[in-house]
């Protein structure tokens, strides 16, 4: 049997698949960030906290109201999305005329407050959330044991990412959105309510983060810091893909998940750093990111 750099091919396939699964989370989160940045010009640092809220809300729905996973998958993003809309109306909308930095600072502060509150009430150890019975167990693929739930994560994430891409790039609504990004005044002159569209877009981006959070709840510990650990990596993904590029964020999300997965096999100690090394290289060679347009 041949081996690649001392790793049997079975193990390699397994790791590629796992990388894809992690990439699914990166893709969903970076997609939300890209949409928000593209339309609002806000670097949404609260994204990780909103991802955490998605998981937390689904835990609350289950434990306080007996709402099962499948409904939570729908309800939690809506609930968290609504909190996003409120935040946008009350706070973020006041910063549009200022530099990016102010939006970044505001959302970073919000993230710390949300995480702090969650930590205060629920502690740091995390809350148990079990895999829905329909998706427990797994398949033996020969080269690895693939839990059904992980397969579902990849499928769900691909559907959501592709639908979002389709809506933004191929539909009339998406055309309005893209036009409003280019020239909000002109689009407003055609009778389209641009501020409302911006608000809803923020709500949608936040909802995407929450959706990823619900997907994550059964496999990662639901704890206040789950988003904070992830968000820095996701920002690197967005930077590599090109700020504001929809397709770029999806492809880089999955791609970097795979790169990280492979690093875990060949040199696990470096797996936390590899994405940032790539980011540094991309910034040096192509500062606008792999899929970004130079302004």
């Amino acid at each position: 049997m041949f081996e690649l750099l001392g790793i049997p091919p079975q193990a390699l396939f397994g790791q590629l698949l796992l990388g894809l699964i992690n990439g699914a989370f990166y893709a969903m989160l970076s997609l939300g960030l890209a949409i928000i940045f593209g339309l609002l010009n806000i670097i949404n640092f609260a994204h990780g906290a909103q991802y955490m809220l998605g998981a937390l809300v689904s835990w609350m729905l289950l434990n306080y109201f007996g709402v099962p996973y499948w409904w939570a998958l729908l309800l939690a993003p809506v609930v968290v999305g609504i909190t996003g809309v409120v935040l946008e109306r009350l706070l973020i909308s006041r910063l549009y005329h200022l530099d990016h930095l102010y939006g970044l600072l505001l959302t970073f502060g919000l993230a710390l407050i949300i995480q702090g509150l969650a930590r205060n009430y629920y502690g740091i150890s995390g809350l148990p959330y079990t895999i829905p019975s329909q998706l427990s167990g797994g398949q033996n693929l020969g080269f690895m044991f693939l839990p059904n739930y992980r397969a579902w994560v990849v499928v769900a994430s691909l559907i959501v990412c592709m639908t979002t891409w389709f809506v933004i790039e191929k539909t009339r609504l998406g055309a309005y959105l893209r036009a409003a990004t280019e020239n909000p005044t002109l689009v407003g002159a055609f009778g389209i309510n641009v501020p409302r569209m911006i608000t809803l877009t923020y709500g949608f981006g936040v909802g995407l983060a929450a959706f990823a959070g619900v997907l994550a709840a059964p496999i990662y510990s639901v704890n206040p810091n789950m988003g904070a650990d992830l968000i820095v990596v996701v920002f690197a993904v967005v930077v590599i893909g090109g700020m504001g590029s929809i397709l770029g964020s999806i492809i880089t999300g999955f791609g970097l998940g795979i790169v990280e997965g492979l690093t875990r096999v060949f040199y696990p100690e470096a797996s936390a750093v590899v994405i940032f090394v790539i980011m540094a290289i991309v910034l040096l060679v192509k500062p606008a990111g792999l899929f970004g347009r130079t302004a």
Partner: protein
């Protein structure tokens, strides 16, 4: 930095009491993780535990004024060093308590020795604190990697788990844990077939678990802690390691972790702890009082903070002074006796000696309450729980 003052009660009592002894004022600093992965097992709960020790000791009535301050070291050795220096140099702190995260604890260990103060460690695991890094100014109270490795690994090997794979957190604690456990496994006729070091803290352990799975080892051991262990065990259950015939061993698992995992996921896991709230009437009584304040049962780390502060205050009372050298000597020559760890001693290398407990996580149907987590499989007597004095390489041992 948050101040928890006892000054008011302390002052009030000392003003009115016609005290015969001179007042001693001590300042204790609880330095631990207040926001990260270890903030549930240490965090504010350790401050509360220290406060309970001061109250239970009735320090004020005995002429000892105690002020407790606390800070977050964020599990970073550099942050811990800076705070420790500031506390000793500027804030007049006499003793630093708790300090989970071995790398941070080793840093505070050095600074405490340099400044000639007292370090009562409860939260950190590395057995180097009483081994090659031992210091005359440090007491390592609650647990260490040698103790846990021996408790858990020798029991698992004895039950037929001969081949091991380690999933290890890549820092001082994880490495010490892996090293100490490897020693035990080999000494008992087992073998280590592989190990993987993951960045600390981690989130996704599936890659490492897959490597563990393909290694074919009988036992997959987690040499990590807190949130890392929770995620590892949760994902091991998802990837069907146990169904496929491998067994899991948690080398450092706290009651809070099991509570968070849920018995459904964690059942059957074998582990070692120094303290469990449901050991006897005294631990139950104290834990109930702790729960009133914190809304959860104490971890062994928090119990260790309580017991070590109690013993420290006894030494201060006996000496009517707080000089580090005298206090340390007094603490070592006086046998320890507290409601949580029972009777014990502090050895010359700083190791506190007490029994440890081999525990197994209950099945959900056997559990009678939210915190009814363990069956006690075995009690390891105090004299067998810790590394023999002459094997640690501590320079204080002649």
């Amino acid at each position: 930095m948050k101040k928890t003052g006892f000054l008011l009660t302390a002052l009030a009592t000392s003003l009115f009491a016609s005290t015969a002894f001179a007042d001693v004022a001590v300042k204790l600093g609880v330095l631990n993780d207040r926001s990260g992965v270890y903030s549930d097992l240490a965090g504010e709960g350790s401050v509360v535990a220290a406060q309970m020790a001061v109250d239970d000791f009735k320090a004020a009535e005995k002429g000892i004024t105690v002020e407790i301050i606390s800070a977050d070291h964020q599990n970073k050795p550099d942050v811990a060093s800076n705070i420790a220096r500031q506390w000793y140099d500027q804030d007049g702190v006499d003793a630093i308590l708790d300090v989970p995260t071995s790398s941070a604890a080793l840093a505070v260990n050095d600074i405490t020795r340099e400044k000639n103060k007292v370090f009562l460690n409860s939260g950190a695991g590395t057995s180097d604190l009483t081994g090659k890094a031992c210091s005359p100014n440090t007491v390592h109270w609650t647990y260490d990697t040698w103790q846990l490795a021996h408790g858990t690994a020798s029991a698992v090997v004895a039950n037929g788990g001969k081949s091991w794979f380690f999933v290890t957190a890549d820092y001082a604690f994880g490495q010490a844990m892996e090293r100490d456990a490897t020693e035990v496994i080999k000494a008992n006729g087992g073998e280590v077939v592989g190990a993987v070091r993951h960045p600390f803290p981690g989130t996704d352990f599936s890659s490492f678990l897959l490597q563990a799975q393909s290694s074919g080892a009988q036992v997959v051991a987690f040499a990590n802690a807190g949130g890392d262990t929770i995620n590892s065990v949760k994902q091991a259950s998802e990837f069907g390691l146990v169904q496929a015939g491998q067994s899991l061993a948690g080398l450092l698992v706290f009651a809070n972790d099991i509570h968070s995992l849920g018995l459904q996921t964690a059942q059957g896991l074998v582990l070692t702890e120094s303290f469990y709230w449901d050991l006897n009437d005294q631990t139950r009584e104290w834990s109930a009082r702790f729960e009133e304040k914190m809304n959860k049962k104490p971890s062994m780390v928090q119990a260790g903070v309580y017991a070590s502060v109690l013993h420290y205050l006894k030494a201060v009372e006996a000496l009517d002074g707080k000089g580090a050298g005298e206090v340390m000597a007094k603490m070592k020559e006086t046998p320890t006796d507290d409601p949580l760890f029972g009777k014990g001693t502090i050895r010359v290398d700083g190791r506190h000696i007490h029994p440890s407990y081999l525990l197994r996580v209950k099945k959900p149907e056997d559990s009678k309450g939210e915190w009814d987590l363990y069956d006690i499989v075995d009690t390891i007597p105090a004299e067998e729980s810790f590394r023999p004095l002459d094997q640690g390489g501590c320079s204080l041992v002649k």
